[in-house]
Symmetry: C2
Subunit: 341 residues, 2 copies
Amino acid sequence: MRIAVDVMGTDYGPKEIVKGAVDAVKAYGCEVVLVGDEEVIKELLVTYHADKNQKITICNASQVITMDEHPAIAVRRKKDASIVVASNLLRKGECDALVSPGSTGAAVTSALFCVGRLPGVDKPCIATTIPSLKGATILLDSGAVVDAKPEHMALNAIMGSVYAEKLFSKKEPSVGLLNIGTEETKGNAQSLALYPLLKELKQINFIGNVEGNDITKGTVDVIVCDAFTGNVALKFGEGLVSTIFTLMKDSIMQGGILAKLGALLIKPALEKMKKHMDVQEYGGALLLGVKAPFMICHGNSKAKSITSAIRMMITLVEQDVVGTISEKIAEVELGNEEIEA
Amino acid sequence: MRIAVDVMGTDYGPKEIVKGAVDAVKAYGCEVVLVGDEEVIKELLVTYHADKNQKITICNASQVITMDEHPAIAVRRKKDASIVVASNLLRKGECDALVSPGSTGAAVTSALFCVGRLPGVDKPCIATTIPSLKGATILLDSGAVVDAKPEHMALNAIMGSVYAEKLFSKKEPSVGLLNIGTEETKGNAQSLALYPLLKELKQINFIGNVEGNDITKGTVDVIVCDAFTGNVALKFGEGLVSTIFTLMKDSIMQGGILAKLGALLIKPALEKMKKHMDVQEYGGALLLGVKAPFMICHGNSKAKSITSAIRMMITLVEQDVVGTISEKIAEVELGNEEIEA
């Protein structure tokens, strides 16, 4: 198994990405192809004592797409950008999966242009794994398509269900529609049109509407929503967690010697809790609807996220998540044709 | 100043509501009218040693609208429901403001039917105050109108700005549009149509797009969004806070005697932090766009929330929040007519 990793264009530079990839090779025995500036990568491999590791190869790419560039224009113009080169490796089958911590827009565009969509999929979507009380919940679409059509969102539900089945090793994972009330009659025009479509789908275990507080409650495995709502919710969640821990730290700092001693004593328990809630454990978000496993990591990913992302990709390739999604979508497409015929 | 309080139809029953109202009368010296089952209220006033308090009067209402009733049907049929009776007191000017912790749907419907909208306002909205790193942020619409028209949302921005000015005693509070990126070109059809309208409004200090993580960062005073997004975000936030504290407690419980001792030592600091983040400090959400101050509290409000809500209502009546909103909206309406002419 070979995983391509785009090393360039992240917040902390190539060193965290290379370190994470080296750690993954050592831990899981997979092969990785590091895509980016060859000289920089070579030096980093020496630093991490992995320059003689035969499971690690370098694929040079002379250009980088930065976070502030227009994705579609940059992907078209910069033929030798690391994300474009990496996507082409994936297209040609020279690697089995791709991990990209650079610009999300550039990654999605590059996936569409170079890797291509699965037959029957008009609009790919991004599936993010969010830690919950009971494990994790997959939220999709968390960033690809705003004002999504209900029929596209129904396909997202199928893709998310397959992803959950493979990732959580769970038969018939539950799928909910993110809404403002549990009753079938609640919602905006989009969710009201989507509900009956989801109810009819034989490919998913639809449990009806769920609400915002279900996201971390662990009451449902997969939550379907529009990318606008998904993106706002995710960023709100990130901000809220950060606000809570900042306020907690400030209160403890102002609380004198006893509060500080207390903080020291609960530190192991807090670390355990933080590990459970740590999004880095889940590596990144999967781009669903393209022809090969394509993972988008946060631009501020540390080595640990990259290692987790590679671990997840190994599972998803072994479980043939893309093949299974493709079969399920063909079933629906066939169903539609039968109805039309 | 007289504040009407609907005592019926909440999760914890009339006792928390009556206690909160009694505490407010004692703390702030206002008058309250308790609307609901006279016998029940009389007994509770004896319990809280307030049966001889001349600032507290009872207005009997023989019916209750429960959380699971259809709001529009229930408000029309139950003429003697506590929320309907209370709304009529407000309409007739027999009280200056209303606090309602019952069904949100029934409260909004009753406000529309009995109190009525301000001239120029088609759709009222709900403004919720969310604790932030630097104080609080007002999010609106948090629950009234989904698939809102951009022109209605522009009016919401003006109403939210007046509310923030009065509540935070701040001149020209900043107003942001909740979106999935800060650039003007980002967003869904609704936010793309709304952005230029907000940019043109002289009545607000519009700072552009903000993202989900700005909600608790304290970077902006007022955030405008569709009720669908606002409702999902609010419920997600509630769930996330609850999940974090549950996991923290579980980790500490499993962490042995030292972790428990630590938890005891940081308790005062945590309590201080929780007080800052406590939504009960803000009482409830204001229904903006109706002819009198109308506050909707959570169905699970405890006495403290009701006391806070009454305190907020005193400020808002003194500051004439409804009158100021009415003037600002008249300015915009006038502006529109000039353009049309």
